[in-house]
């Protein structure tokens, strides 16, 4: 392996946190594989962001083009193929963000590279990189290897790689001219769409009771509303509850819903897919009730109960009411 490339991700002209997680993973891979690390920045205006990246990366390759105002997968794939085609053996590292989910699969085909998505760790065996990822409802870990190992694309689980400034000082910034020609793009960004605001703001809540698929096919939401109320908190949920129209979208916790940081987060019947976990990072207390002892939520919760919600929730509400009186 000769080169590790890290794609810098940005939104509204700011670098996103996941970029630094990708830099951290890229650094580690570079050290383990004896490869050089280069940051790739494709943006409408690169100067400020390139400076920040150069503080942590020896080399930054930057390309300016108005088409890179957002991470438009068509524009990015075209440019990345042009930059990477003569680079010898390489590994391209990107965060597994919603924008990169659009980009990575098609790009890997265009680069004739092997792709592993949503990786949470790496191992090197006999000089060959291998990735750790999850399968089967995120309940099983898999160590995977890359058959065509000359060109590898990996995307990273958000929060799996923690970044610390290296303080290595300024790296070089090389600006390349945009390889995008006059060809009319077939995929065009129109505008951002802000989230619908509702009558509760779960992002501001200190106490959250959150419900997921495990509350059953035809649940009585009022049972959980009543529990939340007894705790002085608000009711939130994971994606399947919104998909079934049981609660409005602004109640949804997760990376594509609302990111929350309450003092206490009580997860009921939530298995804990990474999109959900990504929305509760940093909550000081996470407690979970689930009937599946292997539910991934128990890996991020401090306290758990394996059991039946229908039975436990009314009892819990009574205990809470009794504690409030005492």
């Amino acid at each position: 392996m000769k080169n590790i490339f890290v794609l810098a991700e940005h939104r509204k002209e700011q670098l996103r946190d996941i970029t630094w997680e990708a830099v951290a993973a890229g650094r580690k891979l570079g050290a383990d594989l004896g490869a050089d690390l280069t940051c790739l920045l494709l943006a409408e205006k690169v100067d400020d962001m390139a400076q920040s990246l150069a503080g942590e990366c020896r080399k930054v390759l930057a390309i300016e083009d108005p088409s890179f105002y957002t991470l438009n997968s068509e524009a990015l794939a075209k440019a990345l193929v042009s930059v990477l085609k003569d680079m010898g053996p390489y590994m391209l590292v990107m965060g597994n963000s919603n924008s990169v989910m659009d980009l990575a699969p098609g790009l890997s085909v265009a680069l004739d590279a092997t792709l592993a998505t949503d990786c949470f760790g790496f191992e090197v065996r006999d000089g060959r990189p291998m990735a750790l990822r999850q399968m089967y409802s995120y309940k099983v870990n898999a160590l995977v290897s890359f058959k065509e190992a000359e060109r590898i694309v990996v995307t990273l689980r958000g929060g799996a790689f923690s970044f610390g400034p290296s303080g290595q000082g300024a790296g070089t910034i090389e600006k390349l001219s945009s390889p995008l020609g006059d060809e009319k793009p077939r995929k065009r960004f129109v505008n951002y769409v802000e989230a619908e605001k509702g009558d509760v703001d779960i992002a501001a809540a200190d106490i959250i009771v959150s419900v997921g698929r495990g509350i059953g096919e035809e649940p009585d939401i009022s049972v959980f509303e009543s529990l939340a109320e007894s705790m002085g908190g608000v009711l939130a949920c994971s994606r399947p509850i919104v998909d079934k129209n049981l609660l409005p979208k602004y109640h949804q916790v997760g990376t594509s819903g609302v990111e929350v940081k309450p003092k206490v987060y009580l997860a009921l019947g939530i298995s804990g897919a990474f999109q959900h976990i990504g929305g509760i990072k940093g909550s000081p207390l996470i407690a979970a009730i689930n009937k599946d002892p292997r539910a991934p939520i128990f890996r991020v919760a401090q306290y758990g109960i394996v059991g039946d919600l229908n039975e436990l929730v009314p009892i819990l509400e009574n205990k809470i009411k009794a504690l409030k009186k005492s």
Binding site: N98, D102, V109, L143, S145, R188, D292, P293, A322
Partner: protein, 263 residues
């Protein structure tokens, strides 16, 4: 409007007890219930809704063993016009790249204005096939899509970004769109609708009939190789509170109170 919907036959692992097989490279699947991947169910519904609004033809296709015929027939009952079942023993062990290669070969010779699929499947959690397939076909694609509108030769839609933010995007047709769950409400299928399609023939095509080169399928046509599968240690992380329902509820209430969870 010719719409092709690619759907996957997946084991329901969300609440099942999973066991790693003897070779340590997969889980035991014999006792698991299989059904259409949850995300793909929304893709089928969206295709049928677009057809009902604009006219056209909905074709459903899967790369899956025999049992998956049931899911294809259900798609017909939901309003799809035809279904194709792609299977060959040599497809066993295909990764996302190999499945995309098989689908690309099948779709290339057929009219397609719009290809719909789900963004992710719950078994591999990879989210790869849609974008790979689109690039193999040379058409634009997008994932996590909701609120689709066809405008002449364009498709306009919303897609989810993080933190509740979304983006509105437009693509030229033909295009591939991988949908998010929740973009519609998959319809209830009546017994009458199921009866109506009971005798519709669902062609099963093998690699020869698809015209697929052997090097493009199964483990040989795959690029990712699973070295080892393992279950993370149980109870890693959380302290599991044990006892009777009364006891565990009382203990949890106490913990919630101490941590400021009773306001």
């Amino acid at each position: 409007m010719n719409i092709i919907v690619c759907i996957k036959w997946t084991p329901d692992t969300s609440e099942a007890d999973l066991i790693v097989d003897a070779a340590g490279k997969d889980i035991k699947k014999d006792d698991l219930d299989y059904d259409v991947n949850d995300w793909d169910r929304f893709a089928v519904e969206e295709a049928v809704q677009i057809k009902e609004k604009m006219g056209g033809q909905v074709t459903v296709v899967t790369v899956a063993p025999d049992d998956a015929a049931e899911m294809l027939r259900e798609s017909l009952a939901r309003g799809a016009d035809e279904a194709f079942h792609l299977w060959d023993e040599a497809f066993e062990g295909s990764d996302g790249y190999a499945v995309a290669s098989i689908l690309a070969k099948f779709i290339k010779g057929r009219p397609h204005d719009l290809i719909l699929t789900g963004t992710l499947a719950d078994d591999d959690c990879g989210g790869q096939v849609g974008g790979m397939l689109a690039t193999m076909l040379g058409i634009p694609s997008s994932t996590l899509v909701s609120k689709i509108e066809i405008q002449g030769t364009n498709i306009r839609f919303n897609r989810e970004l993080e933190g509740g933010l979304g983006e509105e995007v437009e693509m030229d047709l033909p295009a591939l769109v991988a949908v998010a769950t929740g973009l519609n409400e998959p319809r209830f299928v009546s017994i009458r609708a199921v009866r109506k399609v009971a005798s519709v023939e669902i062609p099963m095509l093998d690699s020869g009939e698809i015209g697929l080169d052997e090097s493009r399928m199964g483990p040989g046509g795959s690029r990712i190789q699973i070295e080892q599968i393992y279950l993370p240690p149980e109870g890693e992380g959380a302290e599991i509170i044990k006892g009777s329902s009364e006891e565990v509820a009382a203990r949890l209430a106490q913990i919630l109170k101490e941590k400021g969870g009773i306001g």
